[in-house]
Symmetry: C2
Subunit: 310 residues, 2 copies
């Protein structure tokens, strides 16, 4: 019999996690405290599975869907699970209450992870048996962007980090292990570095919003979609990373000192970027463009799978 | 008869530019002041063209190669050109001397661009007819990464910026227009933001080098390979950019203030990253990994072409 994983909170993030786990062969319980949310989630999952099947990224949406089960109580959802992925609202008091309730009913050896993106784990994971609670922060949607950050609270033990890593890596996710909590974790810090410098370059009148995006999607983003910034540096010098830094390190750290990532964002600047965006993608085409983004993510995931395999 | 473009300096960057221009139908003159460099460059170009032909990204390497001609003097190279792409050594005095020589022999209406990546254009473009001189900074290699930054010196006129944009965009490059010079231009500033924060996260012992790279190649880099950071924000909220900033702007700018992009790099930290890299890719496999990177770039370019077309 397949091992069981529970989702607690089945909004956009939770329901996508369900695809990750069912795809890996787990039985997946869907639980949400709010009425009707699970039914809606499973309806949306059906659409996503159809997209994946069309893209030939899964065989048999039906078999996968058959592993997903709505649960009508937290107790029912967590009965017999090896792992729980919580994805409720991002609010300290709510997360703390949900974790308190979950540890009370989860099997003793189950690991409990939160999809939390911005609250430090120490703020809500001080609950009974805190050693087995941690953050497993995905990038949305986890079934298409296979990156998850494992962030321990001060009370999380290594065994729980290892177990979460084993389950998530086994399900095809690429896990990033932090040794301790830090504001924004890793992914959002790197993203914020780009966002804040980008907004500052626009605010200073140096470059348009469209050209900032071009510099990423036609430039930096190409390499970064299959290797990270450190490997990029490492491969840019025949003798590797240290030799690259010997040549370019001073220029890069000088630039680092010149960056304006700490500047506040002016409301007028935000309005001007928004208005430039609406010229590129009018309000009435916005939903269509989001659908385009999702299709491109699927196509890229398929491209990467085939390159990694080949 | 095809219009003519000259390359001055035919090292790694210059010879790749030649592929961009020949692919677009131009006759391309290869000139390098150092003995034997052009012959070597054309030999390397043959290898690149074979790779592109194998990947079905060009039809007819031979036809393309037939448009490339070695030139034995600067005068011969620049005779009758509409555009010059300079890619000599990154040193102020050399760049200034080369531009002084080029403007003396180039046709009056030719635009002259430098591949310069780090020197502000005001430092070397104060030459006769400076209105037609500018920086066109590529990402290496330009024939695979179609992003070019156009940076005016204080003397560059709009007509020259427009003309360079027209020629480069017409040759399939995605041009980013800066309104004035700024340290590092746009691409390298955004790259430095990521590199410096990444090194700081490693230095603080928060995450491994490999996991930093995973956070990009399995996370952020996916979206960024087909849309930029501003479009990503715009599409992450149903009502667009301003609404996204209303929800997450404070968290992002708070994070911006917490970033450590201005920190110096400790020699020991660089050594430890290097040593982690060598465990992942041993020195004897480094060249092979660089070849892998180039194959992946070609495969991604082909993937993007097909997605953009489809």
């Amino acid at each position: 019999m397949a091992e069981k994983i529970a989702l607690v909170g089945t909004g956009v993030i939770g329901r996508s996690w369900g695809i990750v786990f069912a795809r890996a062969g787990y039985d997946v319980a869907y639980f949400d405290a709010a009425d009707g949310v699970v039914a809606h989630a499973l309806g949306e999952v059906d659409k996503s599975l159809a997209d994946l099947e069309r893209a030939e990224m899964i065989d048999g949406a039906a078999a996968l869907r058959a592993r997903m089960h709505p649960a009508s109580s937290l107790e029912e959802a967590l009965d017999g699970v090896i792992y729980v992925q919580e994805s409720v609202k991002e609010e300290v008091s709510i997360k703390h209450a949900v974790f308190s309730a979950m540890v009370a009913v989860a099997p003793d050896d189950a690991v409990l992870a939160s999809s939390c993106s911005a609250i430090p784990p120490s703020k809500f994971l001080e609950v009974p048996t805190p050693h087995r609670c941690l953050i497993a922060h995905p990038i949305n949607p986890p079934h298409l962007v296979p990156c998850v950050e494992l962030v321990p609270s001060p009370w999380t033990d290594d065994a729980a980090m290892d177990r979460a890593d084993e389950i998530l890596s086994g399900a095809g996710q690429s896990s990033i292990r932090l040794t301790r909590e830090v504001e924004g974790f890793v992914v959002n810090r790197l993203q914020a570095a780009v966002m804040t410098e980008a907004v500052s370059l626009f605010a200073r009148g140096i470059v348009s919003a469209e050209d900032i995006d071009k510099s990423m999607r036609d430039g930096l983003g190409l390499r970064w979609s299959f290797m990270g910034p450190l490997e990029t540096m490492d491969l840019n010098a025949d003798a590797g990373f240290a030799s690259y830094v010997e040549m370019y390190g001073k220029a890069i750290t000088d630039m680092g000192q010149d960056l304006r990532v700490a500047e506040p964002w002016d409301e007028d600047v935000i309005k001007r970027i928004d208005s430039e965006r609406r010229k590129l993608v009018p309000a009435e085409s916005h939903a269509e463009r989001r659908a385009w983004r999702d299709r491109r993510l699927i196509a890229l995931a398929r491209h990467k799978d085939s390159e990694d395999a080949g």
